[in-house]
């Protein structure tokens, strides 16, 4: 995100916050979020894809909303205005191609008749899907479909295949295909919000929601690019609140903190940071440690800076988003680190993977206790790793933290019965150093694309092979 883009976010957020009427504010939020989505989606070499990717995401959201309804006919009647606004925005963005002042999208969008035909076909299929398939089954099918989409987008081999198919449809040369052709803005967050709605609707936990609230939740523009992933009931409650003027001051303060972290601290550290390109060239162990430390701090300031901008912008319109970081690098053990790093993603995985799995295993008295701890911990961390991309480096990064958390758990369990030490402060300091070193070394797996590259970096950090 550039500074201009941040300023646009802040301006739109301030504008939305000044609208007192909730209904109109939600409509304005939807329009702003869609425009931001199309505007921020980068160009790809495949024709019209920068238009189609946001459009598909919006249609997926409409599918989820329709699929969660018990009476589609009544729901459509009650939400017709929102639906018309959503489709009007898509049509106007497509019609933008006929104006001299073109375009909101990165490249010229497809013809309006193509878009409208596509939308008509989509609605016919959606009606058949919702009316013909029972509620529970259709939600289950959508969960499988979205996980499949996620896997395809996150696996370079599958993305390459999809790129070839899309190029073939567009009559473009498939020899130039690349997995990078399918860079889809914010899709990891959008899919996880959609899955949250589907899981909770299936379990009967989702509160009744209209289409406007659902679209605001999924595409809420301050959190579109990099989260956080709020939970729907909390977000819905925030949407119903009236913004207060003093929140503008708090919001702006938070945005400035974010700008400083992202554009001053993170971008300066980027000049020193370790990267797959410079790692093989560095021949000094001390310089390598410095570069790794710079990377460790940079990734934190970069991500937490974006989160500050998102939380601050949301506050400008009186909406409180959940925190994503809580001083993670100051924690004295790995368990605490994972309660304060990318909190909303970790909470998502706790809710839908870790807790159900751990509960099932803990109730199984035949299984040894240590295994009921290792299995959920390791599988959750592997999935968190693979959420970043389905490749060996993210798998290894997840495994590193999964094993680390298991060892941390065992150590804590062992220490419980030990008398409290007089050297508490020293222990805490040692715990902090160990945790920080473990997390920082773990970034080597995260950033080096190959196993051999990571091992070579570890060797050089220890002074071998220089």
């Amino acid at each position: 995100m550039s500074i201009q883009q941040v300023l646009l976010l802040v301006f739109l957020a301030f504008l939305c916050g000044r609208v007192k009427n909730h209904r109109i504010r939600n409509f304005l939020l939807i329009v702003s979020s869609f425009v931001i989505f199309y505007r921020f989606q980068t160009a790809t070499p495949i024709f019209f894809l920068d238009f189609w990717l946001p459009t598909f995401a919006i249609l997926m959201a409409l599918t989820v909303w329709a699929a969660t309804q018990t009476s589609l006919k009544k729901a459509l009647k009650d939400n017709l205005q929102t639906l018309v606004i959503a489709l009007l925005v898509i049509s106007l963005i497509s019609a933008n191609r006929y104006l001299t002042l073109c375009c909101i999208t990165a490249t010229r969008p497809p013809h309006l008749w193509v878009v409208l035909s596509f939308i008509v076909i989509f609605f016919i299929l959606l009606a058949v899907f919702v009316l013909a398939i029972p509620h529970g089954t259709r939600l289950g099918l959508l969960i499988i479909a979205f996980i499949a989409i996620f896997v395809v987008l996150k696996t370079p081999e599958f993305s390459l295949l999809l790129s070839k198919v899309l190029r073939w449809i567009n009559q473009q040369d498939p020899r130039f295909s690349s997995p990078n052709d399918l860079v889809w803005l914010g899709i990891s967050y959008i899919l996880f919000r959609l899955l949250h709605l589907l899981f909770d609707s299936r379990a009967g936990r989702l509160p009744p929601a209209n289409l406007a609230e659902t679209l605001c939740y999924i595409f809420f523009f301050p959190a579109l690019v990099a989260g956080p992933i709020a939970r729907f009931p909390q977000f819905q409650a925030e949407l119903k609140k009236s913004p207060q003027l003093e929140e503008v001051v708090e919001g702006m303060q938070r945005v400035f903190i974010g700008l400083f972290r992202k554009f001053v601290l993170a971008d300066s550290l980027a000049l020193l940071s370790l990267s797959p390109q410079n790692a093989p060239l560095i021949q000094s162990s001390i310089y390598l440690w410095t570069a790794l430390l710079a990377y460790s701090l940079r990734i934190y300031f970069d991500f937490s800076g974006y989160t500050d901008i998102a939380i601050g912008s949301a506050r400008l319109m009186g909406i409180r988003l959940p925190e994503n970081f809580n001083a993670p690098y100051l924690k004295t053990n790995l368990i605490q680190f994972w309660s304060s790093w990318h909190i909303t993603l970790a909470d998502w995985f706790r809710s839908y993977v870790f807790n159900p799995l751990a509960r099932k295993l803990r109730l199984n008295s035949a299984m040894p206790s240590w295994l009921t701890i290792l299995i959920p911990q390791l599988s959750t961390m592997l999935l968190i790793g693979l959420w970043h991309g389905i490749s060996p480096n993210f798998f290894l990064w997840g495994a590193w933290h999964g094993v680390g958390l298991f060892l941390n758990n065992r150590w804590t369990s062992l220490r419980k019965s030990a008398p409290s030490s007089r050297f508490q402060a020293l222990q805490s300091f040692f715990g902090w150093g160990l945790t920080f070193a473990f997390v920082t070394l773990g970034w080597v797996w995260f950033l080096m694309p190959t196993f051999d590259g990571a091992i070579e970096t570890f060797r050089k950090l220890l002074g071998f092979g220089l």
């Binding site: 909770d200 379990a203 936990r205 939970r231 909390q234 959940p322 924690k331 368990i335 605490q336 309660s339 909470d347 706790r350 809710s351 839908y352 870790f354 807790n355 159900p356 751990a358 509960r359 803990r362 109730l363 701890i373 758990n409 804590t412 419980k416 019965s417």
Partner: protein, 83 residues
């Protein structure tokens, strides 16, 4: 409610923290302070279900739903009353 709170407090101190002399205040932060980790929360949910017949969902084992004994006791109490 008082009894319920004491029961949960005793379970956390004796079984989870293995420190019977530890007194947990009703408003003391349990999750955000790091006192209870993810496994403790799962064990706590299993205990509540077995002891009081009340289910705390997997999606509720987080600081947004409860972060101290007072909040947790209220959830369990309300559910026991069928609210």
């Amino acid at each position: 409610m008082e009894e319920l709170l004491n029961d949960l407090s005793k379970f956390i101190a004796e079984t989870i923290l293995q420190n019977p002399s530890r007194k947990i205040k009703p408003t003391e932060a349990l999750i955000s302070s790091g006192l209870l980790d993810s496994f403790h929360l799962v064990d706590l949910a299993i205990y509540i279900e077995e002891r009081f017949g009340v289910k705390i969902e997997d999606t509720e084992l987080n600081r947004q739903t409860f972060d101290n004994l007072q909040e947790l006791s209220k959830i369990v109490f309300d559910r026991m009353q069928g609210k």
